[in-house]
């Protein structure tokens, strides 16, 4: 379902242009409002819909197989960390509200700056470990898995299969 933009709601701020992964939300030079320049390259990913501060963008099912008269709307709230959906069927028989969390923590606050953590030792560099491992791989004191630790070997050809 390609996107379209309601004339009276769009103020041409460009948030949708900035986010669309397909580079198809553009600002019309005459109306100075956004529109979808290439509906057949739209994945209906809703990235632009979620990003529009004025809820000016909606989606209308692909003309080729989606009849008119349905609606799937969304409000994504980063502050509250939730996303709210409303799905309305064409025949009006189903009208669903669905809510989901999008994060459990304030944005970006719990991602460490790796420039400032203690630098890896020469031993760590020579090992197979990545940042914060082996702690993050396992709960016990066990080290990283290797063929040896797991009693395995690699054998060539169909015989090993």
């Amino acid at each position: 379902m390609p996107t379209f933009v309601y004339m009276t709601r769009c103020d041409g701020c460009g948030h949708c242009v900035d986010i669309c992964p397909s580079d198809i939300m553009h600002i019309d030079k005459v109306t100075r409002r956004a529109y979808n320049i290439e509906p057949n390259m739209c994945w209906e990913c809703y990235s632009c819909v979620k990003a529009c501060p004025h809820h000016a963008i909606d989606v209308r099912g692909y003309a080729d197989f989606a009849p008119l008269g349905h609606s799937v709307r969304v409000i994504r709230d980063e502050e509250k960390g939730v996303i709210a959906w409303r799905i309305k069927f064409r025949n009006g028989k189903k009208d669903m509200n669905l809510l989901a969390p999008i994060t459990t923590k304030p944005w970006g606050k719990h991602i460490p700056q790796l420039k400032d953590v203690p630098a890896p030792s020469a031993e760590q560099r020579a090992s197979q470990l990545l940042f914060n491992e082996p702690k993050y791989i396992r709960m016990d004191d066990g080290d990283i898995h290797t063929l040896k630790s797991n009693g395995l070997k690699l054998v060539e050809g169909v015989e090993g299969y």
Partner: protein, 626 residues
């Protein structure tokens, strides 16, 4: 043209394409290279780019070693049976032994992972999948990448890798253009991690007209990972291993949670179970080694994805379609019903829209399934990608040349869809591969392997001319005609894409020919691709947006040619249900229990093909006993 040239110099690690693999690379690189210069060049905006732009409802690769669930070798065995044996087990084991650490980090960063209230472990969807509220998966990993990177260049379409002129076969950075300003961007870098993702829209899609963007893998997955690597002369592997997906009809909504968690199942148009009927004939075709129905019942060994496709395709061809997903039972439970809808809203909103538009309530009606057009990628149930070195402690000599995830071009690394032979990595495994590649890239630099790189002005100038040629071409010939898009001197990017899709569909086993091809068809297809390549030199772009589409189709073309060459080389039908070689309909383990490796000579465009040995992980004890 008034476009500026913007040079970013002295980069240590350039991440070309920051989806799940690229963000993993940028993030981890900072730890091993605290004083290094890390730069991201991304075609879209990393907050919502790549296959995970709309989010995910599951992490499909998680071992759960800490909860006593699986060991890495269990995952290797699973991936190899699913891919009929053809995987890089060293790379898979390596990915699997690290992947949990990526997932635990995601949870700390704020990604909502569901928990099983009884066990306290993550809520399992299936043996390998855990359930998440992943609408913001991509913004969260992007945040991590931004924290680590010195600079993020959004909206740069990377078109080519730069090659070192001091030492042959060594990378020196990349070039591209800004899809908004049109400016030319030059990134001089000691190493490059390519994370530019897999390929949709190579094959003619089932969708038509306005709906053509409704593809399973994102329409912006332009095969650039392959285009860039093949263009630089890196060796590729398993490019014939394109994937076909059984999905909800038209919307291509995912089925994983439906099968595994909601316990829905399929039946034919007459309400009958149909799969098992096809298995005896399939057993003949592929051999007991790969399909042993009794053993599968006994040991829960999975039936390979392609073989289940085969049953679906054949049942429909026998006139007993459509295939239905039986949802009416599961959806009576309101909790499961809600999960069914959330699953789409979290990763394929389009399916929810389609059901709303067609008044299809899965509680009262069983929706249809279909098989998709083929896709070329390397992180789902398929393993297309670059031939990469494995880690020192795991890899046999044929698979090891110094640095983990380094391609056969020095200093050039891959992650996610870019790396071949590592199916079932999915989002978490792709992120993990990025981390592994980044650590190895830092080592490569610290070992002094990137000393003395030289890039001449003429190389930079040559690429510049090449990049803007479609716009020049447009300007030169546009005014020969009155108006419109029909011009004897050029084709536009959409016309080129249509040609490519038709050609791949008809000659290389697309949907309109029931995934069937043979040597004759492939040879004709290859000839047509060469002529198409000539026409691609005459592709015309009216503006910068079309220039983006022009380069996407060029990358798709390079990807397609590799797929065609590999399909011709592997003279057997290894994955019935993904594609068929009509002239070699059986699995042929005597000749083809090997990985296929190709190289396109960047100067001549000639292909060379070779077989590489397959190594399998076995238990030491088992081997001694045998």
């Amino acid at each position: 043209m008034a476009y500026k040239t913007i040079v970013e110099d002295d980069i240590d690690i350039l991440v070309a394409g920051a989806g799940l693999g690229g963000t993993g690379a940028a993030w981890e690189a900072r730890y091993w290279g605290q004083d290094k210069k890390i730069v991201i060049a991304e075609k879209a905006n990393i907050d919502r780019s790549g296959a995970v732009a709309q989010g995910l409802y599951a992490i499909n690769c998680y071992m759960g070693t800490r909860f006593g669930e699986n060991n890495p070798e269990d995952h290797v065995r699973y991936a190899r049976i699913d891919l009929m044996g053809m995987v890089r087990e060293d790379l898979l084991f390596d990915m699997a032994r690290h992947v949990d650490s990526a997932v635990h980090q995601f949870e700390e960063w704020g990604l909502p992972l569901m928990r099983n209230p009884k066990t306290g472990a993550y809520q399992r969807e299936g043996r390998w999948q855990i359930m998440i509220h992943g609408e913001s998966y991509k913004p969260i990993v992007a945040e991590a990448a931004k924290k680590s990177a010195d600079k993020v260049f959004n909206r740069i379409c990377v078109t080519h890798l730069l090659m070192d002129e001091a030492k042959e076969n060594r990378v020196a950075g990349a070039v591209g253009f800004n899809v908004r300003t049109g400016n030319y961007h030059v990134f001089k870098s000691k190493t490059v991690v390519v994370g530019a993702g897999g390929a949709s829209n190579i094959y003619k899609p089932r969708s038509v007209g306005e709906g053509a963007g409704r593809v399973w893998y994102a329409p912006w997955s332009s095969g650039s990972a392959y285009g860039l690597l093949i263009g630089a002369g890196a060796k590729m592997t398993q490019m014939e291993n394109r994937i076909v997906l059984a999905r909800f009809k038209d919307g291509y909504g995912p089925v994983g949670a439906y099968f595994l968690h909601l316990k829905t199942y399929t039946q034919n148009g007459f309400g009958e179970e149909y799969e098992s009927k096809w298995f005896p004939a399939l057993e003949e075709m592929v051999g007991k080694r790969y399909l042993d129905v009794e053993a599968s019942h006994r040991t829960h060994r999975p039936i390979p994805t392609c073989l289940r496709n085969h049953a679906l395709i054949n049942e429909v061809n026998a006139g007993r379609g459509p295939i239905h997903m039986v949802t009416m039972e599961a959806f009576q439970d309101p909790h499961l019903e809600e999960i069914g809808w959330h699953n789409f809203l979290g990763m394929t909103v389009g399916q929810a829209v389609l059901w709303a538009a067609t008044d299809l309530d899965p509680k009262y009606e069983n929706p249809e399934l279909t098989t998709s057009e083929p896709y070329v990628m390397g992180s789902h149930a398929t393993g297309c990608g670059a031939w990469c070195s494995g880690p020192e402690d795991l890899s046999p000599p044929e698979y090891y040349w110094g640095y983990n995830r380094m391609t056969t071009v020095e200093g050039l690394f891959g992650a996610g869809d870019a790396v071949g032979g590592t199916p079932h990595a999915f989002s978490s495994g792709s992120f993990t591969e990025g981390r592994l590649a980044a650590k190895a890239a830092c080592q490569y630099i610290d070992d002094g392997k990137a000393e003395g790189i030289r890039v001449s002005e003429s190389q930079i100038e040559r690429r510049r001319e090449e990049i803007y040629k479609p716009m020049e071409h447009y300007k030169t010939y546009r005014n020969e005609i009155t108006a419109g898009t029909v011009n004897p001197n050029y084709i536009n990017p959409r016309q080129a894409l249509d040609r490519l899709q038709k050609l791949m569909d008809e000659y290389c086993g697309g949907v309109t020919v029931n995934y069937m091809t043979n040597e004759k068809l492939l040879n004709i297809g290859l000839k047509k691709l060469k002529v198409f390549e000539e026409d691609l030199e005459k592709i015309a772009a009216e503006n910068v947006h079309e220039l983006l589409r022009a380069w996407e189709v060029k990358h798709r073309h390079l990807t397609s040619e590799a797929v065609m060459q590999h399909t011709l080389f592997r003279k057997e039908t290894r994955w019935p249900g993904y594609y068929y070689r009509g002239d070699a309909l059986k699995v042929d383990d005597d000749n083809w229990h090997v990985l296929t490796v190709s190289r396109r000579d960047p100067k001549t465009g000639e292909y060379t093909m070779e077989k590489a040995p397959l190594y399998h992980i076995v238990d030491e004890a088992e081997e001694a006993a045998a």
